[in-house]
């Protein structure tokens, strides 16, 4: 019993050191810095009541929620198709879909510009067709597209794994009871995938909340929170506000993960 306890403690030691050195200490320091401004602890309240910061929070949360919803929808449709249909080139397609996993946000932003920027493919095409150039890379739409693009691989792999584990007899049973394909999807398949949706959706949301590279590259007119933090920190040297914003961002993200974990009853790992 005690020997077991000792062994477990030894096993936990590396994690303990790592957590202490690279998480707890800096976080504590960050919390302290957040309260070091003229307003003290009220600095935390200020980041939520100052319109500029508050708008940044709302925009970032809405963007992340939207990205999560759209990514889940696309990944589920694609995952169902890919898992259920054997066709030549299937492996290649899966590999292509998971390709963005290897890209840093900067590259994703770059790709959005190539597609929808001033000299982009879509701009050229619409220019030729209608005489008017469609450019949306630097707007919310461009940001949204980039986020969805890099979120899909994380979600699709989880969803595909969950679909693969689904007992095909469940769907067959539902069909034998008279349910058509869409009814089976609604009543049997989607409910069975709920844990996977919660897990990968939470990761997707957290990643979108913290994403920086894409927003930075696109230099959009909307300030997502990581951009706001960057601006406060690097341009204005406003350390207290930057720290307070960081802590609140972390808290929101952590809350989303915890919520999904308690709903799903499984461990959700934040990635990215």
């Amino acid at each position: 019993m005690t020997r077991d306890r000792t062994r477990h403690l030894v096993l936990l030691l590396p994690l303990g050191i790592l957590t202490g050195a690279f998480f707890l200490l800096p976080t504590a320091r960050l919390i302290a810095v957040g309260a070091s401004g003229e307003a003290g602890l009220a600095g935390y309240l200020a980041v939520l009541t100052t319109p500029r910061y508050f708008e940044s929070f709302v925009a970032t949360i809405l963007l992340s929620l939207g990205v999560t919803a759209v990514t889940l929808a696309i990944a589920t449709a694609a995952g169902l198709f890919l898992q259920r249909n054997a066709f030549p080139g299937r492996e290649v397609l899966v590999a292509l879909l998971t390709f963005p996993l290897a890209f840093p946000g900067v590259v994703v932003g770059f790709m959005v510009i190539l597609l929808a920027g001033r000299q982009g493919v879509i701009g050229g095409l619409t220019d030729a067709l209608t005489g008017e150039k469609l450019v949306f890379a630097y707007s919310m739409a461009g940001l949204f597209m980039g986020y969805v693009y890099f979120s899909i691989p994380r979600v699709i792999l989880t969803v595909m794994a969950a679909i693969e584990k689904l007992d095909p007899a469940l769907e067959e049973a539902a069909r034998s009871l008279g349910a058509g394909p869409w009814t089976v999807l609604r009543d049997v398949v989607l409910p069975a995938l709920k844990p996977a949706f919660l897990a990968s959706g939470a990761v997707c949301f957290a990643t979108a909340m913290g994403a920086f590279g894409t927003a930075f590259t696109l230099a959009t007119d909307i300030d997502v929170l990581p951009m706001t933090i960057y601006t406060e920190f690097v341009l204005y040297a406003n350390f207290a506000t930057a720290a307070a914003l960081s802590i609140v961002l972390g808290a929101i993200t952590w809350l989303a993960l915890a919520l999904s974990r308690s709903l799903a009853g499984t461990t959700v790992a934040a990635a990215g």
Binding site: A86, D167, A169, L170, E172, A173, A174, R175, S176, L177, G178, A179, G180, T183, D187, V188, P191, A192, K194
Partner: protein, 353 residues
């Protein structure tokens, strides 16, 4: 609960070749009478599930094959339009619905009014003796309870045909036995046409009005359980069902000459005047143990296994191969002991050439 329909079912020329080239089923003709329980029996991979899935509408037969429910051809009708009940080895209960939700699902899909639905669900739950489980979650049920719920769910929609794919295989022996008896009584009471897949021969014997023994995508024999057991049509059936002993020897003066003696054959075979090598088969329980002097055949005990109600003996020296016979449980046997056997000629089985 009564099921008005006793739908006869027919497979005509139904073969199945899968996309990867696997030939799972040779073209098969099979008629199932209304209200009959037909058991598909055979070793793993012989095509039982494939046959059942063609009946269900989950697989299409190769071109040329036809599936008929009564007079109507349903070959191209998808499963959701066939009104069949299915029971799976894995139960396949919906984990996001409780027991009543599962049982009522088919009625909900059919948009039955709420009150009617509730009445029918209660009726089926009562029939399966699981009324008290109505509001349990699926993960709160034991294996036996799950299979009862699965049966209730399949029967709630009053299917034309009930299809069961190894429904008891995942259960332990005692429970399997109990549910087998229950299912047997249920099928008889409902008079529903049922096709039951199993690899367990005692299950097949107990449940089937007729048994289809399958071997590598082909029908090896179709018949009532007794016929399958006592008059196997070929070596595969003889060896797959129960234990069978093979005696191979010289036919002389109406007797089969073996290493352990000479065994009298039945009159018709003896009268043939035929001579030469021949073989006969017999079941362990067909042999009677007697004193060596009075016996037609003599052998030595190689091993004896006491099973309580009887003792199973493996004997050397009777035939070229060892033979297995059964003796009453009371008598003790030592290894190496000499025992005599007599076998009634009418209990000998001869395979058609």
């Amino acid at each position: 609960m009564s099921l008005s329909t006793s739908m006869p079912v027919r497979l005509a020329g139904c073969g199945k070749t899968f996309a990867d080239g696997t030939r799972a089923l040779e073209p098969l003709d099979l008629g199932i009478a209304g209200g009959e329980t037909l058991v598909l029996l055979g070793p793993s991979g012989c095509g039982k599930t494939t046959t059942l899935r063609i009946l269900a509408g989950l697989e299409a037969p190769d071109p040329g094959g036809r599936v008929l429910f009564g007079e109507a051809e349903v070959t191209h009708l998808p499963i959701e339009k066939r009104n069949v009940g299915m029971v799976f080895q894995s139960y396949a209960l919906f984990p996001n619905m409780d027991v009543a939700g599962n049982v009522g699902y088919g009625l909900r899909v059919r948009r039955l009014p709420e009150a009617e639905r509730r009445r029918r669900v209660a009726e089926v739950l009562e029939m399966m003796a699981i009324s008290e489980l109505a509001h349990r979650r699926i993960d709160q049920l034991s294996g036996g309870q799950r299979q009862r719920v699965a049966l209730a769910r399949a029967l709630a929609v009053r299917p034309q045909v009930l299809l069961l794919d190894e429904p008891l295989t995942a259960l332990d022996a005692a429970l399997r036995e109990r549910l087998r008896v229950e299912i047997d009584a249920l099928l008889r009471r409902l008079g529903i046409t049922a096709i039951y897949v199993t690899h367990d021969q005692s299950e097949a014997m107990a449940l089937g009005d007729r048994i289809v023994v399958m071997d590598r995508g082909r029908v090896a024999q179709v018949g009532p359980p007794r016929e399958i057991y006592f008059r196997p049509a070929n070596r595969f059936v003889a060896e797959f069902i129960g234990t069978m002993n093979l005696l191979r020897g010289e036919l002389r003066d109406g007797r089969l000459v073996l290493p352990g003696g000479a065994l009298p054959l039945a009159g018709s075979e003896a009268a043939d005047g035929a001579a030469g090598e021949t073989e006969v088969l017999f079941r362990p329980e067909a042999a009677r143990i007697c004193a060596s002097e009075a016996a037609a055949l003599v052998g030595r005990v190689r091993s004896a296994q006491f099973l309580g109600d009887r003792t199973r003996l493996v004997l050397d020296g009777v035939a070229r191969r060892t033979v297995i016979v059964e003796a009453p449980g009371r008598r003790e046997f030592r290894d190496g002991e000499a025992v005599g056997l007599t076998i009634d000629p009418t209990d000998l089985i001869r395979l058609p050439d």
